[in-house]
Amino acid sequence: MNNELFIFCLRLADNCLILAHRQSELCSKSPFLEEDIAQTNFGLDLLGQAEAIYNFAAEIEGNINTPDDLVYKRNERSFYNFILSEQPNTDFAFVVIRQYFMSVYLKIIYTTLSNIKDSELSGISLKALKELDYQINHFELWIKRLGLGTKESKEKIQNAINELWIFTGELFERDNLDLNMEKNGYLLNSNLFYKKWINYINDIFNKSNLNIPKDAYMITGSKNGIHSEYMGFILTEMQFLQRTFPDAKW
């Protein structure tokens, strides 16, 4: 159970970390100042969630690795974030859709975790949930503004949905580890999870005159450490210093 809980936590924390990295790339590059502050705030929230969960995971593992080791010393094949999380900030619509899909996913996962008996993990989840609502509200506003805005804004947001949709199938995949976590109450079963997630998406897309693509082929692999070409570049940048000067400290 402990080893499974460790991997389960890594999967969750890796998602937060890589999403935080993508958000941090927007620092000083957002469309306007207030949005810049919002995006970097979300990045900070996600990084905080990642740190708290890595800390928790490191303890379960018996402190063999520090949280920093987990972030800076693993190779691409040992990262378990969804392929969706690592997708680049192609344009602002891609940022909005990627973050929205993922923040709804995180909300469902944290809601389940907040009810389990482990007070530390449920404490982290409760805390994360409070901040996640800000993100969900913020991105819903943007989906509406872009979907109901001009012809061009609608085209762009619909394009982002179409392009990113093929990565969403992974969010509801379950391997043996997940099934065991379900049994222990750490995870909702796939059908229920999907229902909750798609309700959010349908609701906001209906209000915003946007469509879900039909019959899309789904790309998966992250549970086995298989990623898109973008992941290597993220790690190259993120791990550069620790790889070049091992164990360098401030």
Binding site: E34, I37, A38, N41, L44, D45, L46, L47, G48, Q49, E51, A52, N55, S119, E120, S122, G123, I124, L126, K127, A128, K130, E131, Y134, H138
Partner: protein, 159 residues
């Protein structure tokens, strides 16, 4: 013994009250509700702290400041423990502390379940204010403008 340990705890608490919050120096870390628990015996002095926001960048610094301060007062084997439960809430901030925040220029948080959602300008007390940006200089604050005195100000978001 019971009373003795309580006295020691109170003494530590009064020392910790001398540490201002790094981001809002007008209030101390005890008033803010960051200090959750103190365990003190012959072997160890353990202070449990909780972050206001999960990614609060000041929390590591707060831990260091606590260590520094307690060392100065002769405490040894100081251990800082991070706890996440119960989750920090602005409802823990007392009325007295809220007044300090207001005098410092930050509009204090309303109670979470309060029907009063009005945000007051800390400079002229007007409640004719508008939200400029939900995010501001730190994760815990939003940016507002007073429509009467036209001054910008920050509000401590209630969570």
């Amino acid at each position: 013994m019971q009373n003795g340990s309580k006295m020691i705890k109170n003494k530590i608490l009064s020392i910790l009250k001398q540490i201002p919050d790094p981001e809002i120096p007008a209030i101390n870390i005890v008033e803010l509700g960051v200090v959750r628990k103190i365990i003190c015996n012959e072997n160890i002095t353990q202070v449990s702290i909780t972050p206001t926001y999960i990614a609060c960048p000041a929390i590591d610094l707060i831990g260091k400041l606590i260590k520094e301060k307690l060392v100065k007062f002769g405490y040894k084997n100081i251990n800082i423990k991070m706890v996440y439960y119960p989750t920090w809430t602005t409802d823990w901030i007392s009325e007295e502390t809220k007044l300090k925040l207001k005098n410092y220029g930050i509009s204090p948080p309303n109670l979470i379940n309060s029907k009063n959602k009005k945000i007051i300008c800390p400079k002229c007390n007007s409640n004719n204010t508008s939200l400029k940006s939900f995010f501001s200089s730190t994760p815990c604050k939003s940016l507002h403008k007073c429509n009467d005195c036209i001054e910008p100000f920050e509000y401590f978001k209630c969570i």
